[in-house]
Subunit: 437 residues, 3 copies
Amino acid sequence: MKVLLLGAGRSKRMKPITDKNFLNFLGEPLIEHQLKLIKNAGLDEVVIVGGKHNLEELNLCGKHLGMEVSVVEQKDLDAGMCGAILAAKNKIGSESVLIFSSNDVVEKSAFESVINAFEKDDAEGYLLGKVVHEYFPGGYLEISENGFIKNIIEKPEQGKEPSNLVNLVVHVHKDFAKLVSYLEKAKSDSDDLYEVALANMINDGIKMKAVKYDGFWQPIKFPWHVNKVFKFFFDNAKKIIAKSAQISKNAVIKGDVIIGENVKILEGAVVNGPVYIGDNSIIATNALVRESNIGKNCVIGFSTEVARSFLGDDVWTHSNYIGDSVIGNNVSFGAGTVTGNLRLDEGEISVNSDDKKTPTGENKLGMITGDNIRIGINNSFMPGVKIGSDTFIGAGLVIAENIPEKSFVRGEIKLKISENKVDISKIDRGEMKKKIK
Amino acid sequence: MKVLLLGAGRSKRMKPITDKNFLNFLGEPLIEHQLKLIKNAGLDEVVIVGGKHNLEELNLCGKHLGMEVSVVEQKDLDAGMCGAILAAKNKIGSESVLIFSSNDVVEKSAFESVINAFEKDDAEGYLLGKVVHEYFPGGYLEISENGFIKNIIEKPEQGKEPSNLVNLVVHVHKDFAKLVSYLEKAKSDSDDLYEVALANMINDGIKMKAVKYDGFWQPIKFPWHVNKVFKFFFDNAKKIIAKSAQISKNAVIKGDVIIGENVKILEGAVVNGPVYIGDNSIIATNALVRESNIGKNCVIGFSTEVARSFLGDDVWTHSNYIGDSVIGNNVSFGAGTVTGNLRLDEGEISVNSDDKKTPTGENKLGMITGDNIRIGINNSFMPGVKIGSDTFIGAGLVIAENIPEKSFVRGEIKLKISENKVDISKIDRGEMKKKIK
Amino acid sequence: MKVLLLGAGRSKRMKPITDKNFLNFLGEPLIEHQLKLIKNAGLDEVVIVGGKHNLEELNLCGKHLGMEVSVVEQKDLDAGMCGAILAAKNKIGSESVLIFSSNDVVEKSAFESVINAFEKDDAEGYLLGKVVHEYFPGGYLEISENGFIKNIIEKPEQGKEPSNLVNLVVHVHKDFAKLVSYLEKAKSDSDDLYEVALANMINDGIKMKAVKYDGFWQPIKFPWHVNKVFKFFFDNAKKIIAKSAQISKNAVIKGDVIIGENVKILEGAVVNGPVYIGDNSIIATNALVRESNIGKNCVIGFSTEVARSFLGDDVWTHSNYIGDSVIGNNVSFGAGTVTGNLRLDEGEISVNSDDKKTPTGENKLGMITGDNIRIGINNSFMPGVKIGSDTFIGAGLVIAENIPEKSFVRGEIKLKISENKVDISKIDRGEMKKKIK
């Protein structure tokens, strides 16, 4: 069985984070994590669908895993999932194929379940049905009495769901060519040609089976999904502290951690897992890192707290608080700069994207940045603001709006300077000093 | 002997702190501390005078101490001490009575002294005379040759004090009914009917004795008195660390502390007594608490310093400096917010109350807050500012004025965003990183 | 041989730092360090040239070293080095003299080299030639075939240097009276009469020898030279921790340190040498000091980092970051105030002096202050700003310009206060609290 891995998305909703496929979780790009899961589920031959923005990088993937990976280009990136699948038309013939998207992070057992079902060979298609325990606005699988899928009902009214199984694109098709022919005939005004094709197949009596799955599922569509995915990968990874890491005996390591080569953890620092720290990073004196992914070559400076955040490579902090944030590569923070990660009323945080407000479902969310950013001292970032790549931000500012890429942001400085007539040299702190114990 | 405890004051001068009787010192309201002192001095039967604002709460007091407490209402709260005493007219007949105010915090020995004097039965009244060692603007007791009080001289000119004994209302009257009759006849244009009645009694030959007292006395009239009272109660309390408290072996406890149930003190935290920490509070990583009262359910967050401050319950801090402050209940501080607790010229701090400047006699004083307040990140509070209850405060602000209750406070944000033309990805910090040891 | 130590400079380029001669390195003024070096090189008799601004203080110098020090006044401080030397005309006759400036910090071997050369007695003058390994904009010594100095070429074009020896004023003249006579006859439109006199002497056939020196040389002309000089003096000083110093067992001392009498180093503090800490200073809880000179009676407060900085006496910090800075005496920093020590583009920092921009050659430089300064909370100082003496600075400001002495600096505060209608008492943080580990 071949795997068709859909990875052509342009990560628009992830902005200012660039291609999510290459976000490094635990030092490895998302796409490699996906390939590894596939391999561990027993599949070896993968066709990745990319776009011209990431073809080159995709071509390098999977090699070190010993997998047979080929990459095809989806020319029209607006053509959605249908277009992505059709891009592989010449790579996969009438073979069986497992289709999934690099967007969707699931457990290995998700793949194993559909593969096991497929091996029983009692249907032409096998769709993963994610068991939901509360209402979820997705496509629900309606199961007929004989056990096959009767219908997929998109976003039914709450209380009217036909089952507790939501369609999750980990789909096996026995004959890829047949799927292709249905896709080529499908018609729709909106971006749901794949779903239309599936419906047509079912209507034509092609048997589709629902494969129940009650494990982890986290799509990465928005930046605030990143930390959830980090935790999943972390939980499933081997917890190793590299021998070359130097951990001060005055530092404290709590919980599960993965610590890379040549990492230094200085005096008074606390690393409170789950925490991943990439190679050559430094956790400096009296810093605190908890529940976070720290990339390589980072410096978490003196008295900084990083909590529940994802930091790329080459991030420098210094007496900061970075909470519930997603920070790109090569970003530095001046001393005293902090992220607000909670609204004053502690309500749900919305994020602006392309003039649209997106509710995040989160009441804790910090800032989201692209790459190559230099941030000055004593700035205050409001919850959910996005900072575009290649940007400088001055000092003492309150950043309550998204900052476009390639910006230089300053404030207005108006000092009033008058004459001081107090003789400061006469002020005596002797008594005050005696009280310090 | 009955005790008449005056507790009807509306704590106007304590604003934005609400009823001082229910300020929790070491987890117990002031009024309970007062009742306990009374009980320890051997008295059991107490009539508390309250106002309609606190009758309900007063009714719950003293029960667990096994005291016989009844509460009467002073209807006209503008009628002062005389009105307060008369409110108890129907509760106390011709019995002996010890009168004092919940305002005045004194040692148990103050009560014992007047009780002992009363037991000698050589006068009709016994007034506590607080020995003062420097001028104090109060009522001085003039003692006649035969040892009885001749007069009470209000605020004499400095150097013209008739004695070193200041009238402190811990007064025993042998016959409450007689006091009542004098109060009912007393006449004055100002709020001194009790003093006028005392003078009339003395003039009529009723013998009043001065009982010397050289112990602790701290009235709680203004917020900056709170920390002094905390220290007194702390010194007299049993120093206990609850067994359920979890103290990291990397944390440091210095000096005397009282630590409640389920308190957690995390790595690198320092608690430098005298410090009280209420149940379920957390002193987080690398925080410092010194000479402070921390209520219950508080979180003193990463790298916060709390010094010489009184915090109510449910206070959350995070990388803050809170010095010489009085903080109400359910108050949270965003990261980087700090209190200024010293004028630049280190002079005496004045506080604004109702358009009036009150000099505090203190050169160290931080902020004073009511309850239910959410404060954003990187704010700066000037010494002595008051923040009213039910208030939100934005980010990056300098708060140099009192904020009324139910406020939402923001600043003006004016960012200048221009195009950045520097290629930040080219900036190399390799050399800088090598230097970190 | 007498020593003529030139110390009349008014330290204009050092502003707002006052007389550099009395900057205390490791607790001792620069001028005393210079005298000690001289003494260690075997010379005992010193004439210091001062100006009326420092005559009194200079008169106290060298006594405790057992040196014979006399002070002469240079009346016309605009008369440069020539004027300085002539000021000593009546103090030194036809004796041999070693001339150098208190500006130039060199190793003892620099003095020993010229003394040794002089003892061979094969010339009338001996000029120290500092070996440079890259182009330096100074006066280069041109050496003739017979080994004597032929010429001194001021700032030759790069690549056209006549040698790799730069004229460093550690000069021995066998007959001071002869030098004086040449100085009196020298003529020039600019401030180079000493150089003109030397040239005239060489032209008249007076033999001058170049004495090679390949050791440390750091002129103190600008404030950013101070830390380099600190490191030199530190490296050459005995590393002692006073017995009276109290170092918490939870504090960490790394690298080489010198710690004075009665210093206290509290819990969680890290001192990362080279660090000098003067008598009676306190390094408070969780503070970090690295590569810095801390004067006496300082308090490095909770969670402060001081890095690569020079602090005078009586400096108080509190939750600050002070990096690459030069701080005078009696300066205090409010909590949350930080120095920016890096431009956003990490380029070379320039400093404004008298309306002129001086490039510093440094890409790390913090702030430079005079004496007697009180700085409020949460201020941000831009790299290279200078703060004049006797100045107050408010709170929450961004200081991006030099502040003149005797200033009171405030910002504009514009708060917008509206009504809050949210019931904050209903916000529940119970779940949040459970997650703290």
